[in-house]
Symmetry: D2
Subunit: 439 residues, 4 copies
């Protein structure tokens, strides 16, 4: 009977990954996760040089079978070459999944319902993709009977945390292999050598030190490292790939209407779209108008400050428009409650705690406030600016008669304000009297 009730919790995102009928017996205990030998590992494989090296290194070092998993999260690269490369390296089980709709629907949109912004500026484009990759890796691990997973994130960044916290949450007894923290291929030279020794093709562009590292998905692209390491120096214009600069954007503004239902965008100019289609459309509109570049220094969870540059054209529009539709459909009490909790929500996503009970509890709070967050926002894009031209809703709480300064036919009794103020001030008057009475 208890078992039945349990299913309710497992609902949400964690559900499928965590409790496949046949996997339940397996994950008896954290204790089983102790070292021992690895049989089969699921690698998050991009097909690029670094994860190809990791693939080989895993085969060599652990002597185990490697299963590759390549996800289309809208990063804008062809994925089929990854299949050929994996096959060539002897991989027998190859997973290439288009996760774009799931990514936007179940990860990006819930986060935007919360207006999440890390340290007041970062839209969390990298952070939000990691839990989904982790979840899918665990699903595959269960499907193919793998006892380990591996990823290509380095030992200094946030992504290792996001991947691994995800893995452990969803399959507590999983073995995690983080090559960058284990191997001795700690310089570019050593990596290239290793690749060449093992017949892994090294594109000429990858031979030198790269000017920066990138991470891309349908929500954003990020740039970090090397050429960006001095926070006093701004990035070179040639770096950007998802947006024109405001200077090069058209001289004519782009105006369109974005419709929301229960806090999620559902249509552009009246055309209904799926989540991934819609975000793609907003990216096009924003990118063409120089929208969504941010250059910042952020506080990493692992303890240091780092400098990142991001392009998030569609997400930038989405957050502005979502706040606008909330402004007329959310009551002040729920709006302020949400605002108070937003930095905490953003911190949880940034730190990698998507699959945590506290993020899920906060999401329950956020989603409760979005039930009537339905309506339309008119948006203008112009050379980097996102301007709200109008907002309307069948559930609008804005009442122009009550708000107006002129006669409202008795709807609002101005005398009430006198009593309101008197009682608001009573404690402060008492305080004033009290503080002076001994003087």
């Amino acid at each position: 009977m208890l078992g039945l009730k349990l299913n309710q919790r497992t609902a949400a995102s964690r559900a499928k990954a965590a409790v496949p009928a046949r996997g339940r017996k397996a994950c008896v205990s954290v204790r089983a996760a102790a070292s021992g030998k690895v049989k089969k590992v699921v690698l998050a494989y991009s097909g690029g040089l670094d994860t190809s090296i990791i693939l080989k290194w895993l085969q060599d070092t652990y002597g185990c079978e490697v299963v590759t998993f390549t996800a289309d999260l809208g990063q804008g690269e062809e994925l089929e070459p990854a299949r050929a490369k994996a096959e060539k390296m002897g991989v027998k089980q190859i997973f290439i999944d288009d996760l774009r709709e799931e990514f936007v629907r179940d990860y990006v949109f819930p986060m935007f319902r919360a207006n999440a912004l890390y340290e007041g500026t970062y839209l969390l484009g990298t952070s939000i993709a990691r839990p989904l990759i982790a979840k899918r890796q665990i699903e595959i691990a269960k499907e193919v009977g793998a006892d380990a997973v591996s990823h290509g994130a380095t030992g200094k960044g946030n992504d290792q945390v996001r991947f691994e916290v995800g893995y452990y949450s969803l399959k507590p007894d999983i073995k995690v292999i983080a090559p960058w923290r284990e191997w001795d291929l700690l310089s570019r030279t050593k990596l290239i050598e290793y690749a060449e020794q093992n017949g892994i093709p090294v594109p000429s562009t990858k031979r030198g030190e790269p000017p920066f590292s990138m991470d891309a998905n349908l929500l954003h692209i990020s740039y970090e490292g090397n050429a960006l390491e001095d926070p006093w120096v701004s990035p070179d214009e040639s770096m950007f790939t998802r947006s024109v600069s405001p200077e090069k954007a058209p001289d004519q503004p782009t105006v369109f209407e974005l419709a929301f239902e229960k806090g999620n965008p559902v249509a552009v100019d009246g055309v209904a779209m799926s989540p991934a289609q819609l975000l793609t459309k907003l990216n096009e509109l924003g990118g063409a108008n120089g929208v969504g570049r941010v250059d910042l220094v952020e506080s990493r969870f692992v303890g240091m400050k780092s400098r990142g540059v991001y392009e998030t054209p569609g997400g930038t529009i989405l957050q502005v428009a979502h706040r606008a539709i909330e402004s007329i459909t959310l009551d002040r009490g729920e709006l302020h409650m949400k605002d108070d909790m937003m930095p905490r929500y953003a911190e949880l996503v940034y730190n990698g705690f998507w699959f945590s009970p506290e993020r899920e509890a906060l999401q329950a709070l956020v989603d409760k406030t979005q039930e009537y967050c339905t309506g339309t926002v008119k948006v203008k894009l112009y050379k980097g600016n996102v301007t709200v031209l109008g907002r309307k809703s069948p559930f609008s709480l804005y009442d122009k008669v009550i708000a107006s300064f002129e006669d409202d036919k008795g709807l609002y009794n101005q005398a009430d304000a006198g009593g309101f103020i008197k009682l608001q001030a009573l404690r402060l008057r008492t305080l004033g009297v009290n503080r002076y009475k001994l003087l």
Copy 2:
């Protein structure tokens, strides 16, 4: 002895207003504030039509002496005409004060140290000016022996609360007269009639219904009402006075350096400036580049939604730049603590609780974090965009060697990350095991 200690609290902003040596005996009790007759009232007087009508109405209705107080908060109007008008109406005690430096130094800057943003969008330009006006009115009331104060805010807005909560906090036994909540001059026609009957000149532009009401000071100008009452319709370009539109801004960006000390801006391009000078300069730079327009629907403290349009050119730059200097000088712990409390701080200012112990306690928290918030931000303005090009500080917490992906000569042991993650995940692994063990 206790009396002596008391002075420590009265410090801060409330100090001078609240406890002048000779005023102490007077404010014996809230109880004295009961109605009775009014002897002398200090009116916040702009010299405009509405407050001129109020002046006359106070003289007629209360048969009391009216003292006028006109403040220069940088609203950009000449104040001397107010003197002539007041004299003509028989006012004997006329106060015209330049409060611009005090306004920016003691009200605007402390608020910007907190990055205050109401409902994610409003920079609180009107809200922050009210407490200073209230405080100065109370100082004058004490100086001239007045027993009442009066203001021209309507009965539906937030300003009445901000003024009156300020009055009561600083002088609990003050009598407050809010003509708009008392009189029957509730239409424009009646007001004009009253003015004409009493020899108050009515400018032709004031005869019809005004298209919107405005409030201006050195931080911003606001527009509300009438022509703006439909939140689906965007404001007419002709309304704006402090900024060109992004479309009309120069095609060349403006780049400059803004220096901060302990969280306050102190110099532009190396030229040290007083607080009001500096904000004036930022307004010029921002206004010329189309920066700082916001159009929003906000939740008033008195319970309704209202639509406001704001121009805050300098403040917009200041907030972006302040976040940038914080990003390298504030530790993550203090930065996130501040961010968590920011919406609450903004709500307190918006609702009129500047002179409250909770705002002062929050300010103490904020100011503690600003002790090392010193450095320089390079800013680019371009057609409405405020872009951070660089940030540097003698106290920068950014360390490019620790942050970099490449060899850091042992400063950071990547293996530590493994342990870090393991312990971060332990509770979630236990949770996972626990949740499944009965299945």
Copy 3:
């Protein structure tokens, strides 16, 4: 289609009261709530002297029909006498409802799931009963076609706010009559005179000034006023009615087991009970052992401090035991999130915002955390003390092997702690270096 979706929100507690099929058209607008004449009023009627006077006063003053509503919330008084009294005063529609189960199940238990404690000490026994009374009054108003409601709360307390905010939330166009704020019967003498002139029997015990006012329900009884007004003087032992003093409690402890399911108590010593039965049982156990008295000074929502004494025997046990079962079934992340929000939740309930979207959003957060809050707590009561002797759960997150100081067979690698600490400290080390490097 939208209409259909709307029903989802109205779910919860607000549902039935607010949107009966036939009542929908009626509540067109806030604007209809303007004064005008009253046809029929539903009075919250206890049958006591004060509300009997109010009944008569409503009939006389408003010349309207009065419908009485008397609720059994477990206050421990016979309710049938109220019927006879009402009949005698010509009331035709008399409602006497046993709301005890609804009260405990839908109001008390949800609040205890949040561990709500106002100002660190008050278990909110009065506050939580008001919304239910308000809701039932509104339901009756709709049923009988009344256009007004009335209550007997005074103009200085919190209860007037709790009642009226409830009324307005559930039926925005309702007319509210608050006799204590309207009439001139402002002294006991005048009240008694009015009663005698109108043939309302005045018990001899009610002729003099009462030593204190009381409010009782199944959760608690409160005492305020007169004899308790000096917070330096403790209440007389004779005042208490629900508990013996610790001094008079038995010399032998009482030990029992309290079972929880999803955060709600469901059984005592293995005997399943309905919510009201269970709280009754805990009250008996606690009262007999001197548990649950609190004497405090609290901050009223209407602005002043007030002194209250409360007896909450069962609630005191429940909160201690609920925290104990949470301690082993809630993950740290969700537990701390809840704790952080608890004071806010308590403030909302205290201030009367039970039927508000922000309380409902917080409740969604709280309830999300309670899904596995299932298990048993062994409690000892002894002369005022509530001691937890043990706690166990099928979902316990406590793992004695991981927690122990001794060998855990590799479950926890102590070396991980080194990395954990190093990364936790990294930002503070950087801070330290940074702060000193210029010295």
Copy 4:
């Protein structure tokens, strides 16, 4: 010039430890903390078996000079034997410091000003002592020119974090040696063997597995482990050392007055006492009356749940009494702000972030609210109960005339409450209308 200003931050507790004039140059960088050889280590030495073994192990393993530091924090043990033992083991620099006054004044009292309670129940007695020990170790390390510090905390507990985060914060380049995470003496048997091989006397009581581990200081004593590991089984009465059980406490209550100044207790029954004297006195009073035992399951920072039993007699009284004096001297606004932040404050202390900018910022908020927290509380102790009998203050905000239900001569206009409620409810009325208008 900047250097001068820096000193302001270093003020507070971190000051002396961190920036002794001659030590500044030394702590150039985190980078210097890299491994290498250890010259001299300062060990937190209790004189007991475990830290004696550590002392020897450090000498053997690191071949370095060991300096011992033994602190009197009120744990109630003689410290001089530690000197003899250290001397016998060849230690040349021995520090034995009485830190009781500093402990209570600068650590315990600031924490009690915040009403800190971890997970609703734990008064943080162990947590609060660690930062002081860490600070003093670092001071000594600077004084004697040591390059490392060491402690005896295990690898599974919170204390290792508290010690080490403290060390790193105060001296970023310090080398930390945590023997329990490094050595292979992982069973009691191995430890005893090592002791015997090295001539360290092993008391017979230490030969077997101890029933639980203890930590004591002037604030509390804690018990953990072994016999306490089943959270369903309550501890044996014989374990407790600081308090009689409620059952064995006197039949007569103890009543006394506790005076506060600015949030700190300063006198008992009119007798002024130093911080440590006062806490000692409260411990005596509480312990004799069965006050302050808590048995709980807590969430450790390192990720697991653990069971702890605590005796905190004086602290329990102090928190109850502090809340009582706050209830009449703190305004609602500041009181609720404090309450909202309290769980966060407690978490920071529990997790070991005493020397962090966020704890210091929160302390600034808390301390701002305590400026008028002055007055007297009358307390009754009886068989485990701490009851507030009365509270008074020259700054009391409680005004019995305003609070009373009867005539207050116009101080409070009950009609104001009508307006207050109307405006409080306006948003909810609008919400109600809005939600139903489409139905």
